[in-house]
Symmetry: C2
Subunit: 207 residues, 2 copies
DNA sequence: GTCTATAGCCAGATAGAC
DNA sequence: GTCTATCTGGCTATAGAC
């Protein structure tokens, strides 16, 4: 095991603090509105110091995405360990976790249109790597659930994958939370039902 | 009927041209990235002239939202005329129209986090008025469909309303279109199915 | 590596001539 | 009402002292 100097540990801790701030600010305001100055002020360092750790605002966002994808992968790994759960239950657990993160105000939100940011993300190995890891595991669960007759096999598996990813930025969560009529847990269960069971009526006993 | 001078007609035409440009740019880039200068250049007038018609960027966005809500209300009115359709079919038709507009690149997208914009929208009578009109009609259809056993009565009606509204900014549409495997019509039918019937398997013949 | 200070740029909004 | 020219301010990013 390589020795890590005290100085390097301090740097790691600082980088972690930066990512916590970026994550929170990205969740609160989104990429376009968040400013690097804000991040620096939130961490309590100078803006120029931030740029020694991350060479651009886009890289800062990418690091935040890597961070949240790592959290997702940890969740997924924990789910894999419990082999008794059916594929569809594992997928529901992932969706539940995703919505919990969003309701907790910890889900970074990036604009889909910004081409500079897109290019930075697509050039970021760490990000792409995690994104593919998540997609691979979820894709396997989806295929298995369809084969087992738990998920609608008429839907393309990519549609199901994208739909699950989209739970991370579903505006309905925020609207219901703003309404104040439901607890976070209730909101999640309601949306889990509307997502998997649909808006239409289901005869009692349907899968 | 008040006489409208030629000069006033020219102004109305110009305002309409402005709104068309704003609508398109809001759909393409979103509010934060769109610039007033861009809008002016697209219309072919000077930025200062734009500010004679609309006193702020937020008001510009609000006017675009009023415009799209008017289009939605026209659709809804046309649906109301066809009384033979069941409530759930009318709701599906609205969702279908909403997704068509988004796929056509004509759905303005506003950030949910921007507080200045939110305040401007909530202070805009024309916007709130249309939003309530749409919500009222859809709300009635939802209640009727639930009473008729077509929609899941266990779901709060506001959840269904919000879920339908959210079709206007569903990222899955863009992801599938970018994939290139499906036509716009196929994408819409697939997402209509996943929205109303859910991701889970349904026994054949279920409503 | 950290800071202060600033370059360089571009946004939203306005002044004032026509 | 339209234009050109400009103001004002905030942004990303960097230089250079410590």
């Amino acid at each position: 095991m390589a020795r890590i100097s005290f100085r390097e540990q301090v740097l790691q801790v600082r980088e972690e603090a930066i990512l916590v701030s970026v994550n929170r600010l990205l969740a609160e305001k989104g990429f376009d509105v968040m400013t690097v100055e804000e991040v620096a002020a939130d961490v309590g360092i100078a803006k120029a110091s931030l740029y020694k750790h991350f060479t651009s605002k886009e890289e800062l966002a990418a690091a935040a995405m890597v961070r949240v994808l790592d959290r997702a992968l940890a969740q997924i790994e924990a789910l894999q360990a419990r082999a008794e759960a059916s594929p569809v239950d594992q997928l529901k657990a992932v969706a539940r976790w995703t919505m919990q993160v969003q309701l907790a105000g910890e889900m970074p939100s990036l604009p889909a249109q910004n081409s500079v940011l897109r290019a930075a993300l697509l050039a970021n190995r760490a990000y792409l790597d995690r994104l593919m890891q998540v997609s691979d595991v979820l894709g396997m669960w989806i295929t298995a659930a369809q084969a087992a007759g738990q998920l609608n096999a008429a839907l393309p598996s990519e549609v199901i994958l994208y739909t699950l990813f989209a739970r991370a930025c579903d505006p309905v969560l925020g609207l219901l939370k703003a309404g104040g009529s439901y607890s976070d847990e209730q909101i999640i269960e309601i949306l889990l039902s509307s997502c998997f069971d649909g808006l239409s009526y289901r005869r009692a006993g349907a899968a």
